[in-house]
């Protein structure tokens, strides 16, 4: 119980601090789990019909923080918190990021269409998702922590401020069809409903202090600011008269009154040979039109600070430093609709299977009477769009069918968060009841607070294959 609480705290803190990758490298192409269709709608998944246990069919969270861990900041070890913050600022770069992604399936299901011989499937469902992504605001953090005294000549880059967060619900319906023995194709249409969005990813500008001999002033000081924060579904919470519950309002907006958007997933599975399989998919190629309760806050302009200069020869013109600053870099609020793009994910894999499985007599007879291999090895590539360069991860994996009801997959992943991320997942089926669970970064499980990333997925389904003969 205590551990659960800790993990919960870690999750919460990570959500507050940073953002995470959405790679689900273990679940991808794990075709005994219906939810693998959510990562590749063209995955070679088959069933007569299935439905997920409501609210429990797909629970997943991904937290990643390159550069520092929860332990670095929050360890209960007597070190002064400010020293920890300084140490984190020192050891991170502006390309380090914090990323959080959490999904909860509300319901999901699927069924075969077109009769017993058909290999066409419809799947559908709804899930709630939370995304947070932030780059380490290195320069602004240095400025706030240390000031400019020891950084004469340095241009503090305001582009280091890059953060976005969103709570949304997704309603989806997908179709996949095994066209022939070699090819499975599929697609999924998604309706997004965003309850809250905050986006501040297109910032630029600098704060610069220089000391040059021969100039009339001691310092040359310039602030050039092009800061912009767009929000949707949030601004009413910041008003004084707001007196309801933020959490329940966001929940209501997410499901009933959100900003709407559309997206698609598409994917294929192709068998070069019976035991050599290629897959590729694109997930969340879509956008949201942010239209509800929108507010954009900007600080745009340039200001050069010179200090007080007396005017000995004329009567004074009015004006003072603060006014001048606020005129040069005004705070503006506008109310324009804006469009956000979903973080688009791309997966591809190549898999080689070997060793025929010992088929037990009480087999559950997957639709086609194809040979079933006990082992598979493969490689996967994951790419995801971020505000700057895409996030990439490479995975090698080994998959094994222990029996008809139990499959295991082990992964080794290299990405920005870790170079030795080992993951393990299983899918177990007892009768019609399917359980799956997976967790990555096993090497860090001995102390999750020191991990740079953690992810897990788990869920419960009822899967009905063709009736036993």
């Amino acid at each position: 119980m205590r551990q659960i609480r800790k993990v919960y705290l870690v999750l919460i803190s990570a959500i507050q601090l940073t953002c995470f990758a959405q790679n689900k490298e273990i679940l991808y192409n794990f075709t005994s789990i219906p939810q693998s269709s959510m990562l590749n709608p063209g995955a070679d998944v088959s069933y007569n019909f299935y439905f997920g246990v409501p609210l429990l069919s797909g629970i997943s969270a991904n937290i990643g923080s390159s550069g520092f861990s929860a332990y670095d900041l929050f360890a209960d070890n007597g070190v002064d918190f400010n020293d920890k913050v300084r140490s984190v600022i020192n050891k991170t770069s502006n390309n380090d990021r914090v990323q959080v992604n959490q999904q909860l399936e509300l319901f999901s299901g699927g069924f075969r269409i077109g009769g017993e011989k058909s290999q066409s499937y419809i799947s559908f469902g709804a899930y709630q998702e939370f995304d947070f992504f932030m780059y380490m605001p290195k320069d602004p953090a240095i400025l706030a922590m240390y000031g400019n005294q020891n950084y004469i000549g340095k241009s503090f880059d305001l582009a280091d401020l890059s953060v976005k967060a969103e709570v949304l619900s997704v309603f989806h319906i997908g179709f996949h069809k095994k066209i022939n023995k070699k090819l499975v194709v599929g697609g999924r249409a998604k309706l997004y409903s965003s309850g809250a969005n905050a986006t501040s990813t297109k910032n630029s500008g600098f704060i610069w202090t220089q000391q040059t001999e021969g100039t009339p002033n001691l310092y040359t000081q310039v602030i050039a600011s092009h800061l912009e924060l767009k929000t949707s579904g949030i601004s009413s919470f910041t008003k004084d008269e707001y007196d309801r519950s933020i959490a329940s309002d966001i929940a209501r907006n997410t499901f009933l009154d959100g900003s709407l958007g559309l997206g698609i997933d598409a994917g294929i599975t192709y068998y070069f040979k019976e035991n050599l399989q290629f897959t590729a998919s694109i997930v969340d190629l879509g956008f949201i039109n942010q239209t509800k309760d929108i507010e954009t806050l900007t600080y745009k302009g340039q200001y050069r600070y010179d200090g007080v200069k007396p005017n000995f020869s004329q009567t004074d013109e009015p004006g003072n430093i603060i006014d001048d600053f606020e005129k040069a870099i005004p705070r503006d609020t506008t109310y324009n609709k804006y469009t956000t793009w979903r973080p688009t994910k791309f997966y591809t894999s190549l898999q080689y299977s070997f060793g025929e499985s010992r088929s037990s007599e009480d087999c559950n007879c997957k639709t086609s009477a194809k040979r079933k291999y006990a082992n598979a090895v493969g490689g996967q590539l994951f790419l995801m769009s971020t505000p700057r360069t895409p996030f990439a991860a490479l995975t090698a994996y080994y998959k094994r069918s222990i029996s008809d009801g139990l499959d295991l997959k082990a992964t080794y992943t290299v990405d920005a968060f870790s170079s030795k991320n080992i993951g393990l997942g299983f899918s177990g089926t007892v009768g019609k009841f399917n359980v799956y669970a997976m967790v990555n970064n096993l090497l860090e499980l001995k102390d999750v607070t020191k991990a740079n990333s953690m992810a897990f997925q788990l869920g419960f389904n009822f899967v009905f294959q063709d009736a036993e003969k």
Partner: protein, 183 residues
């Protein structure tokens, strides 16, 4: 069949046990201890006064002005600055000695403090004086925080008379080093 099922459940439990993990104690309350202590350098005041701009008032006063200085109207600055150092530098290329008085005035134009800087007449070589740092802490800082205007009085001391052909400038440059404690 039954044995097989329980065997499976057993295997699933084994696999599930992999998901138990450990975590160090974390203390999130310590975020309350966060204290930012940036040290910011910034221009304070400056002028460049050529002989040609001199006016001639009584008592050798050749220039006077008071400028609004509303920085300390900002509550954030009043509350979070714990120390301010101000460095002054005068350059005189005129063959006469000067006194520059820099007055810190409150909102009612009452003088809170006068900083006096003497600079000798220029005798040919570089004539720049960097004055000892003025340190504002405690009560002196409180006075500084009441400053709403800065007055500049430039007085010329007796010496060789200047005429319309005289050249040269008296220049002031100054910068503050501001110590914040933001909690």
């Amino acid at each position: 069949m039954k044995i097989n099922s329980s065997n499976r459940i057993f295997r699933i439990l084994i696999a599930a046990s992999l998901f138990f993990s450990c975590a160090s104690d974390l203390d999130f309350d310590q975020t309350k201890d966060l204290k930012l202590e940036p040290v910011v350098v910034a221009n304070f005041a400056y002028f460049d006064l050529p002989v040609s701009d001199f006016g001639y008032g009584g008592g050798g006063e050749i220039a006077f002005d008071a400028k609004e200085f509303e920085v300390f109207k900002q509550k954030f600055l009043r509350e979070n600055i714990v120390r301010t150092d101000i460095d002054f530098e005068l350059e005189n290329t005129i063959p006469r000695a000067f006194i520059v008085d820099l007055q810190l005035l409150d909102a009612n134009s009452q003088i809170l403090e006068t900083l006096r800087f003497d600079i000798p007449a220029n005798s040919g070589s570089t004539n720049i004086i960097k004055y000892p740092t003025e340190v504002f802490q405690n009560q002196r800082l409180d006075l500084l925080k009441q400053t709403a205007q800065v007055g500049f009085v430039v007085r010329m001391l007796p010496g060789t008379p200047l005429d319309q052909n005289s050249t040269g400038n008296i220049k002031l440059r100054s910068g503050g080093t501001v110590y914040f404690e933001i909690q």
